[in-house]
Symmetry: C2
Subunit: 519 residues, 2 copies
């Protein structure tokens, strides 16, 4: 028996347990080479810190500590994630044992051999992943073996399995609408304009968004500049009942915990297959209780989807899964050749959004037009609206100020941030190194620069675009401005921008037509 100790180390999506090398009851090294250990509370001892029901066992990888000051010979340390999950008080007695490898790993090995998995096998894998039974490398094994081939039936099983392990929001309404962008376009904060328009129209749109993982801002990070976003489901339900819409962080309502874990491995590996993307998005929408969904697929040379053919294949997979699970969806293909709006980073993006809602003459037109396009498609889910009237109706709601006042009510209901968040005080303008026209903007590169400048952790950090595709420039005229607060981060961002500023310059403006048409 070991006594539990909380070790103040944040091990990010992985449970880590710490055992002293000179531990009296266990031989630490004999555990370490093996995949995981399991930690079981001693039921006879103490009381649970909180909650009711059975104390659960958890799984963790083991690190060995060689310093008695950190951990005594009769103690078991747990990283913050593991400690929270086990949910016992310090000093509680626990038992450890070598974890039996998860039985569902047999299915992973089957997938590695190129076979197709049954629904039950996929459900077992996802349930073990959600229980933190898999190590990161085991998760990678599942992802990589699935990346080479997943049948449409497997995509559907994966979607259902991921939706099945988290919380499921129940709205008791015939129509609950939602929107989703497959991502990769900086500044693309349409949700914060679409939600107030749709809510003002009267459709229910309880929007849950993610925080940025590898991008410079997620909708949740940007909304957080204006209002509290970490709401519990009960608060969220109250607001949606009154205001028809909300813009909250999805992490707190635990919609698809397996998906969150898969994403934490997918992103750093840079694998992002069509099949996994569809299962990920659709599982979250099922869990969020959506009945009608508009999906935005931007196409561009540095977007996630690079060609029209690819977008069509993706659209068909979304439609297949949507039909099978009974989710009514509409896929909209949009221009993803450059960032949307002017700002990249939470404060700058929130500023763009509020300008559009206020109908400020200085607003970014592309953000407004794209938001109206998406809102229009959502409004047409209403059987009562005449076909083709969605866009006009959305525009009328925006221009009348109804969208703005709805947004203000949502902000107040979620908890308004009274103090304005300042922009970073360290700024530099990145200048054109030639004459001509802007012909390309590398979304990935600009996202990376904004991220290095400190976004999204530093909400005031980021990039403000001064010129966009088609604009005429001269050598030495400004392309964009970097904002940062921390000197090291400012230096990283400047270094990366001076190595390659992400702008393409040519002698003539790019040809008109698609994807230009969508702008």
């Amino acid at each position: 028996m070991l006594r539990l100790k909380r070790i103040a180390i944040d091990t990010y999506h992985e449970n880590v347990a710490y055992l002293g090398r000179n531990c009296t009851d266990y031989r630490a090294e004999s555990f370490q080479a093996l995949a995981k250990i399991e930690i079981t509370p001693n039921h006879d001892h103490g009381r649970r810190k909180a909650g009711d029901g059975q104390a659960k066992k958890i799984f963790a990888v083991l690190n060995i500590i060689d310093d008695d000051r950190l951990l005594g010979p009769e103690e078991l340390g747990l990283s913050e994630q593991a400690f929270t999950l086990l949910d016992l008080a310090e000093g509680h007695e626990v038992d450890i044992a070598q974890a039996t490898p998860a039985a569902s790993l047999d299915a992973v090995r089957k997938k590695i051999r190129g076979e197709t998995l049954t629904g039950d096998e996929i459900r077992a894998v996802i349930s073990d992943i959600a229980a933190k039974r898999y190590s990161k490398m085991e998760i990678a094994a599942f992802l990589i073996s699935s990346a080479s081939f997943l049948s449409t039936a497997e995509v559907l099983s994966l979607t259902r399995a991921m939706a099945g392990v988290g919380t499921r929001l129940e709205w008791d309404l015939p129509v609950v609408v939602d929107k989703h962008c497959v991502g990769g376009i900086p500044g693309n904060r349409t949700s914060m304009i679409v939600v107030p328009i749709v809510a003002a129209y009267g459709l229910t749109i309880p929007k849950t968004s993610s925080r940025a993982i590898t991008s410079p801002a997620g909708t949740a990070d940007t909304m957080e500049v204006l209002a509290r976003v970490d709401l519990l489901f009960d608060e969220m339900r109250d607001i949606v009942t009154r205001e028809k819409g909300c813009l909250v962080w999805g992490g707190h309502v635990d919609l698809s915990p397996a998906d969150d874990i898969l994403i934490s491995v997918e992103r750093p590996l840079g694998i992002d297959t069509r099949e996994q993307m569809v299962a990920s998005i659709m599982s979250k929408k099922i869990a969020a209780g959506s009945t009608h969904l508009v999906i935005d697929i931007p196409i561009g040379p540095s977007a996630k989807v690079r060609s029209h053919d690819e977008a069509i294949r993706l659209r068909k997979l979304f439609e297949f899964v949507g039909d099978e699970i009974g989710l009514n969806l509409k896929v909209v293909i949009t221009d993803g050749t450059q960032p949307i709006g002017r700002g990249i980073g939470p404060v700058l993006e929130a500023r763009d959004v509020m300008k559009v809602l206020r109908c400020d003459p200085d607003m970014p037109i592309d953000l407004r037009e794209k938001s109206l396009l998406l809102a229009g498609h959502i409004l047409e889910f209403d059987p009562g609206l005449r076909g083709g009237q969605g866009f006009e109706r959305a525009r009328a709601i925006l221009e009348s100020g109804e969208a703005l006042s709805t947004m203000n009510r949502i902000i107040d209901a979620q908890g308004r941030v009274e103090k304005e968040t300042p922009l970073g005080e360290l700024t530099v303008e990145i200048l054109a190194d030639g004459d001509g026209y802007v012909t390309a903007i590398d979304c990935y590169r600009l996202a990376r620069i904004a991220r290095l400048a400190g976004a999204p952790m530093d909400k005031g950090a980021g990039i403000e675009l001064i010129v966009k595709i088609g604009d005429k420039i001269e050598r030495g005229s400004p392309l964009y401005r970097i904002y940062a607060t921390a000197p090291t981060e400012f230096r990283y961002a400047c270094d990366m921008a001076s190595e390659n500023n992400g702008y393409g310059i040519g002698d003539s403006p790019p040809p008109a037509g698609w994807p230009d048409k969508a702008r």
Copy 2:
């Protein structure tokens, strides 16, 4: 700039860096979601602790510390592995930055898409893995994507790349022999008998072996019961010059560091493809400077190789790679239906080995016969020996006591362990639950029980087999005896044995013939 601090945490094959959440110069969270950070020493400050040449940068995953007592706001903590690798004194100033993803990950993504990699691409991947540039999940991505398909050209490139990144032993001799078993059979300690026979004959056999990773004993663990095994290359060379042979731990001479890292991911994942096995073994043999090699492939229902066809495919791949790299090899297919000898665990296996070398009437015959078979094949690498005389010659060397005296000289040269290591004092006999004959012994299960009992960390822990395949038994007669020292480990092993003791019992002895013939 941060000051370096050693954190006494053993993170096993992964570099981990620790940064305080309230760090003054860096925003800890902004690094954490990303794959790795790179740590660069400040050259202007302090002196290097040891060595000459340029201070190197290292890569590490980041954990965040929330406790000022563990780490100050101007400090960067490093786990033991990372601290040793960076090789700087505590207090040295270092800089950190988000690591640029390894360029070779493009090759991994190419492999995930099902393409074939060039030699240069494989070399880049292996070189980054050896530099600890990959996270465990990135390593898993490479392994899994390669597990589904590797061309023979890729196997060859992988072999050469892995042999290229570590130390390469140079012997300046025309014939340097070696043996290797593909593994999976407990008690299979033939090397400790083959080496003294071959060395006594006069061929040079500088044997490097591994410690157990997931098995209850490696040759290095067993040899360590009798002699020191963590020799440096200079010591090893001196002994080999005098005695023609040695039995040392390969980890200390760093023969194929990339392979060691790959194995640390392969084993827990339970993936073990033919292609990766061949590249792993052959790379280590090239690096060890071997010119002639006997490879033992045991076949059995619970061995690594389960059928004759599989063994033949594996043999052909070994032969292809051997021919291409100019290594003269002979593959021997042996009986792998049950453990070899009686002991499983370092002390018990060392006892079996010494009984065979001493020609003790109580010796395990199967261990003796198999060792003579393998030694015979090695002796036939000598062009001066008449074909077919190897086995007889090996037997003569064993029976004359020459092998024993050579072994004693090798033990003395490496550093004899004077004090006898005791067997575990906690013992239990596992009894037959029926009458009849032993028809099967599950190698995997017995290895697991011996491991739970504490082997190989506890050298005196393990299993002593009392009956083997073909033996007649009665209900209640003993099958094997478990030895352990720690009460918790004893309990784990007993629990697993009582759940399923790993013995198959039938009404009649198993039929004679292959694989029985090889016993």
